[in-house]
Symmetry: D2
Subunit: 401 residues, 4 copies
């Protein structure tokens, strides 16, 4: 039976995490008319005129390594004031259907020994990297066939991995392929990216993990003519930095110090309490400042602390010390308080739509026009948010003509 | 004796106020190599390649209605940590020379009865508007001749005036001219603008006062082929608003409330404690938000309180309440703490340079490319700071070709 | 049938407002073991050893002028994240029982014309003050008899009234009595206090309204040997002020300015958007600072703005500018973000218990030991919170002996 | 020649550091009537009636390990807006006289290799601990004789030392004495305390260093009948914590998390960038919270970051997450911005006076009534600031009778 050309598969890695849960219930709420599309830029002018994939045409599925079910994740988000009880009740059927489509994922080295692991995911630890990617690809292909999907976008939303130093097989596709067979060391995120490409899917890396950013995988995407984008969703404090730092530059004000203190209490925060995992994240949160501002004499700091009582409510305090004319020292303080998952979920929906458009129009490789969504855009370029957004607008205008 | 084509006159209205004092000592410090040009965008790339007027070529003069001398204003700024004692000592000769060039200004209705008024300024109250503007013009012409200046830019930096409702003679130059002879009611700022144009000078209105924004005066500027710009320097809290609000719009986040609380202790703060004067100011501080954000359901507030102990150190707290996906309510708080005068002075130097460039290249009317410097740009257009700044960059690029 | 000596009636004026709703559902939750007694000081050492009234022994009733029912108030508090849906479901029977015990109250002049008024309350507007108090008293007496209550405490929780200037009949009980018969002008809160005392109940005024603070009513309380306390619950920003200001005094630091900006979105906030009502409130929020700190040269400001989207989540920003040794100027900023009703409700339960203890031990008049609960304690005395709390501890120690 | 019974020697360890510089110029300014005694509690009622040592009767001297002179330290404080240029000019003679009285100190292990060390201090590194203490004692004795001082108080204000684990000779005076002869390991601060006691002086430890807190030295103070107090001046963020935490306890609010982020740019901040030194400090900044609040489930964090541009302007952000009734989660944020040295100097003057009073009245051992000045009071007791201050008031009342 041929695929329905309008139906888009959205395959979530980390399918029962907070962001995926918000995506799933949010999508259900949008379809049922229970929610406004707040936070979804592609619902606004001029993007809405692009004919992007409708919410009704998205089908969700995904990989997950933990046990549990979506209603448990949702219950926690209700308790912390992110999802409403009404929405969760209304979407219970859709949630159960998604739960049934979730397949066991593969563990990263750092996940071994975690509590509440799905035993089927754990058992994949025993097989070779090659076999693991084949199992993952197979799940994605089966999902496409079963639901007669025209296209699939894989979105990587799993926990932050410890940073892995570069290896020769990261840089070259031929070596990568050989290492797959020879039990080489891989970030789990890159195995997922490889599997996605092998299954003919687009890939979005919403985390600071390596994902598809390895040169070997950039090469594979080009060969397969598939689009991908990432890394690390720009949801809160870093978004503010890339909005505000250009103002200091434009006004020729000298930033002396930019201190950023982040607090988070969800699983992401817990993972980041591990210094090895934090390294991946902090690197992306600091680099944009140094790229936008005059680096000379600039003092920066960024930390993320685990504060369990905050749960998903990321709270960040930034202190900017700057010098103006006559050597006068001034300051700007910011306190940001937002639900990390509710901020991330609409960006995921936007990115799925941009990947789908690229799949339809035959664009491949790193989608440079998506830079405004990421802390460390795969295609590089400026970190200035408004310049990035102007680029997305220009891309849209071209596609509207 | 013919004018030296490189020498530029900078005529400051409110010449012993905090901003003028910072301009005067700052300019002296820049010339003497005692100061870095922090805060002066025209010293940065790409603007520095435009061949704008050098600091060495600027000659200061101005009008003032209060008695006193610059060293007294400077002493106060030293006490509050804005000017350094060393700079004030090093610039004492230049300051005395400027003091000698300051001429008595004309009073606005609201100034009558103020303490420490220059009796010569007060005596001008008795003469007709026409005669007042002639005296002001004559002062500017004499300044040009005495110092053999090629061009003059008048910068209006006096106190906020109470808001005057529109009158028929504001809207039409012929009526304006007749009213000048018939003792019509005028904002003092508009008399200064008229005098500046009559003397062949460019006009910058750094305040929320009417200045050259009356249609009658826009007409006069066009007839005389003179450039002008304004209104109301965008130095701090409003600058932040026009940088941040576009981010909320770009991310499709729904701003529910934007509350802005400003505190100020200098003469400007004292003047704004008068509700009639505050009206002019608050109007400009609130409008940009409503222009950038979705107005529907948006609650805004902006107030300025006089807190004497803060002196020139403007402290503002903004609270932004917004809704994200799933109806999650989030917030951003900002505390801005900066010296208002040290923030304004470098913008004045930039604007003087842009007006000088316009005089040299024959541009006239409202200088639309200067919008990023103002809360209520004379030529209208977007309030989005980054869009405004992109326009200035484009203007510079055109002039570099 | 004789009253049960352990049963205490708690009669709430404003019985369907946010605070009352939190009291009602909170009490139900405490009894059912669904809630911790967080925020209830009388549940902690040493107070818990005093044998104060158990939650199980409290029976709720009250007056209300608006239509609606408790479950509607509760629904709104669930939507804003103050009550949990589980608690509201679990307490539905108790809530319905309370709803059935709520009687129509009397309108204040300022309430006339409000939407959603109970027509029975409105009809009381047509009868004389004397008759109104008799109806109110009768309701309280009927409540006591029907539920065989040993004692009743009336707690005034209605909206802030516009400030009424002093009248001769406020100051003297005999004149007060005569004015009741002659259609004199009265704050509604004082009519309730009069009615409570006539019914032999204790009276707690949790609002800035006049309530029982009129000399005439203080006289009545003494004659009837009844205890009362008030005014204006010290729940948030003012609590912080009276905790922090003594620190500045103890350290001999000179406070130059204390600016307090409050934002609120519930009915209380809406009422306070009316300047006449706000006057009552702001007076109590500013006075404590001037009592604790050296008044000389102290600049203070306090405002309350209505920000609908915040609903019950009071957000306050305080800026304290102070001078230290060597004339160094320093600052402290505070941002308080709390649910006003969830902060108030446990204080109501504490105060009910203190009044009950006073009724049992025969204490009457203003309960000076309750000062730490109020912005403007009825018995006067220091505003220093720690000194007030030390007094409550000393009172408890005396009662434990 | 006999000592003048009114003259008090104040011997500062770290005599050219920021705090000592503020003490020296501040004292000169107070004597000359150029400064108000802001920040000096002993100048206020009721303490001023105690007949404490007059500023005129204090003679300063001290130890220092760095080269340089006071005017250089003062110049830096002028540049950062803490001292005024006028005061520094007016006090130049007194400052030079103090400079002449400063003697080379002894190095701590961690100081070896620091830049700008006084070579005479460095040379003391080669001699035995016993000889070092003798040299220090001799300096103090010579100071007393030369200036005919009735009493001497030694105030320890040097840099934070790395934390030294307990050794047997810390706990017992006899062992301590033996170790002095046998090249044992000692914190430099404890050698100073030993030397002070041997010279018959009182000792104030304003730092988190071990100082006189070792049991061996407590024993020595008792034997010599000398008073001492410490540790770690409570100047800013910790002061706030001990003022606010009791409020949460009194209101039965459950503190879930208290996160404290400190930034500092002076030498103290630089020293604390060394994790070994920071340990001493952070221990004292966190303990008070755990002592005041219910420890169960309390999450705390405290860090100090070096931000050079802030210099002496300590900026701290505290985030307090707490739970109220009904499980509602609320927050309090604080931003403290103060000059650390200008906050510390007046406390030093107070403590000198309290030690002097103790010397005169024959009190010895740990001065428990000074607890409100310290983060880790030598005599233990509550950390609640208001309770501590009440104790100081009670002490004063006893001495006034």
């Amino acid at each position: 039976m041929s695929a329905d050309s309008t139906r888009l598969g959205v395959w979530l890695i980390g399918a029962r995490g907070s962001i995926s849960t918000c995506v799933a219930y949010g999508l259900a709420g949008l379809r049922a008319g229970l929610l406004e599309p707040t936070g979804i830029a592609t619902e606004r002018e001029p993007f809405r005129r692009l004919g992007l994939c409708a919410f009704e045409d998205m089908v969700l599925g995904g990989h997950e390594i933990a046990t549990g079910d979506l209603s448990r994740s949702a219950g926690e988000l209700v308790r912390h004031g992110i999802l409403s009880g009404e929405l969760v009740a209304a979407a219970s059927t859709e949630a159960a259907a998604l739960d049934a489509r979730i397949r066991p994922g593969v563990l990263d080295v750092a996940d071994v020994g975690r509590a509440e692991l799905d035993s089927r995911a754990a058992s994949l630890g025993g097989v070779s990297p090659r076999e693991r990617t084949e199992r993952l690809s197979e799940d994605i292909r089966a999902f496409r066939e079963e639901h007669r999907l025209a296209r699939v976008v894989v979105v990587y939303l799993a926990s932050v991995e410890p940073w892995l130093e570069d290896r020769p097989h990261f840089a070259d596709l031929a070596r990568f392929e050989r290492a797959l067979d020879q039990e080489g060391v891989f970030p789990a995120s890159s195995l997922y990216a490889y599997a996605a490409f092998q299954a003919g899917a687009a890939f979005v890396n919403f985390t600071p993990n390596r994902g598809s950013s390895l040169n070997a995988l950039r090469q594979l995407a080009r060969e397969k003519k598939l689009p991908h984008c990432g890394n690390d969703g720009k949801t809160g404090e870093t978004l503010l930095k890339t909005v505000l730092a250009p103002m200091f530059a434009a006004r020729a004000l000298k930033v002396l110090a930019w201190q950023g203190y982040n607090m988070l209490g969800n699983k992401d925060g817990e993972a980041l309490a591990d210094p090895l995992r934090a390294e991946s994240k902090l690197r992306n949160k600091d680099a944009p400042l140094r790229a936008i501002l005059d680096d000379d004499g600039l003092h920066t700091h960024v930390s993320i602390d685990f504060v369990p009582s905050l749960h998903d409510w990321k709270t960040a305090w930034d202190f900017v010390h700057f010098e103006g004319f006559l050597g006068a020292k001034m300051s700007l303080q910011l306190t940001w308080s937002g639900s990390d998952s509710a901020l991330a979920a609409p960006l995921v929906l936007d990115l799925v739509r941009w990947c789908d458009l690229a799949l339809r129009t035959g664009e491949s490789g790193e989608l440079a026009h998506t830079a405004c969504y990421f802390k460390a855009p795969l295609a590089g370029g400026t970190h200035d948010f408004h310049a990035q957004f102007a680029r997305l607008l220009a891309y849209a205008e071209r596609n509207l003509r």
